[in-house]
Each structure stands twice: as C-alpha cells, then as structure tokens.
C-alpha cells in the first residue's frame, strides 16, 4: 500500500512496554507494510503514550483475518450486559 491512510483514535488505558506499564493516549490504526510480520500488508496498531519518547508505544501487526477476528471478539466481549463504561467517552 505504502500509504499514509491512517486512523487515529484517542483512547484511555495502559500498555506494557519494555520499561513497564505506561498510560496510553492514542491508538494509531493502519493497513500497510509491517515492520516485522512476514506478510506484505498487515493491520497495524500503535498504542501510543502522549509524551516525547517515541519508544513509549505498544505495537502489534496482525494479518487481516486475525485482525477481523480480534475486532469481532472485542465487540462481542463488550456486548455483555455487565460491561459498563467507566467514564471514558
């Protein structure tokens, strides 16, 4: 693809990096060339901290099928009645 087409979402949560847990402020989502995954294109997500350290991120690269399965799994999990938002809109 080699495109800059990217979706960036503000999120609230924490991620576990090499130096421990840190707050996550955004999720950058794109389907493009991965850095590492052995596929030509991957669904990539960078969970990013808000500070100046570019290494403060959790990155995942998923093949398209895995990404769809994960997305459906997340939505299915959140569909249960007992899941309640805790103040993050």
């Amino acid at each position: 693809m080699c495109t800059y087409l990217t979706s960036t979402e503000k999120v609230a949560g924490t991620g576990l990096g090499a130096k421990g847990w840190f707050p996550i402020e955004s999720a950058v989502v794109y389907f493009d060339h991965p850095q590492e995954a052995p596929v030509e294109h991957a669904l990539c997500i960078d969970f990013r901290a808000g500070g100046d350290d570019p290494g403060q991120r959790v990155a995942v690269e998923l093949d398209a099928r895995s990404a769809r399965t994960l997305a459906e799994s997340i939505l299915a999990t959140l569909a249960h009645d007992e899941v309640v938002a805790l103040g993050v809109d």
């Binding site: 080699c2 800059y4 955004s26 950058v28 493009d32 590492e36 960078d46 570019p54």
Partner: protein
Amino acid sequence: MSSDKIEAGTITLVSGQGDEIEAYHARPVDAESYGSVVVIHHMPGYDSSTKEIARRFAAHGYGAVVPNLFHRYAPGASAGDGAAAARAAGGVPDAQCIEDVSGAVAFLKAQPSANGKVGVIGYCSGGRQTYLSACNLDVDAAVVCYGGGVVATPDQLTPERPVAVIDMTKDLRCPMLGLFGVNDANPSPEHTARMEEELKAHQKTYEFHTYDDAGHAFFWVERPSYNAEASRQGWHEIWEFYGEYLGG
C-alpha cells in the same frame, strides 16, 4: 587492481530549510571522480535495509546519502519508532521532503571527488518522493521503485501532500527509470500506464520495466515480497541507467 574500499556511516545533514537531520553516507574511498545518488527510504523507515542499499551504491562507485525523513518526529529513535511517530503525526509533508532531498543533493555535490551529477532513487513511498523530487529539484536521473500514490484522486490529497505528484510531470527535470511489479496494487499496472501516458504527453525521457511474478517491494531482501529475478533485472537496469546519466 582498482580499489573497492568504501566508507560509510552516520552524518548530520543540513536540510534545504536550514535545520539538521540524521543521514547515512556511503562513498567509494579511492575513486577520483564519481556520480552520486540520494536514496529515499521506504515507509517502514530509515532502516538497515536502506543503509545497505547505500553501501551497495558505494561499492559500485557512487556516493550515496540516505536522509532520515522521519528524524524530526523521533530523533535518535529506531527505524520502527521513527516510522510510527511520523505516521502518527500525519506523515512527511511534501514540502519538507523536497527540502531534505535538496540538502542531500547539496551535500553530495560538495564532496571532494563528486563529479557534480546526482541522481535520486526511492522505494515504496520513497518512489513517490523520488518522482516528487525530480519534478522540483535539479537532479540528473531519477529511479522510481514501485512508488505508490503518484497517481492520486482528490480525496487522497491532504494538507501535507496537497498536489497529486503525477500532475507535476510537466516539471520533471531529468530522465526517469521506473521499476514495478505486475502484481502490485499500488502502483498497479493501471497506475503505471497512467504515469507513462503523462510522461509521453510531456515528452519526457523515461523507461519503465514491469516484472512478471513480482509484487510490491521486490527489492526488499528481508521480506516475503523479495523477488530474486525482478531484483536482479532491476539492479541491472539501475546500473545501466545511472551509468549513462551520472557517469558512474
């Protein structure tokens, strides 16, 4: 026996807009006179694969510089972190890219044994940026390796990249070599046909090669997309092309 000694390493490059960015410089040590090439890295960043390409040019008798187009977004970071930071910021603006490549051209021309001729080559998004650079800077030869996004629809334009590069073709200032894979989706064979149409319409000097069984990024040795035969033929075309126009 001619010398095959090369020297390579990180330098600080002054961009055309005056600020400093990281870059990688490789050169033949004992050549009395040589042509030079700006190597524009792909979307995954300023990485070891691209630096290896610079050393390959040096081993073939060319000076080469890889400007780190993502430096401003993550100084000193790994290639992956730099690429992620640049993407999160919206990507490299075309105007900034032109200034960085301009700085690299000036640096190469200023080297003691440089013959004054400078080409540009780029891969993936760098292929598009090569097309962009060749339409906006005085360079002597441009090699576009599967540059996606040269042909762009209005909805694909952004404040950072406000003009479709193909619409700059009339300003192309040098011969162009294009290397593509027939199975690539971006640029697709339809995209490259559109590029050829525009280059012909403006009577530009160019040659395109589209390789059977190859897709995007067929030069990238470490990836599944690598295609040995397309890469072999592509490098042959590069040496012929730069040999003619850069005096390498």
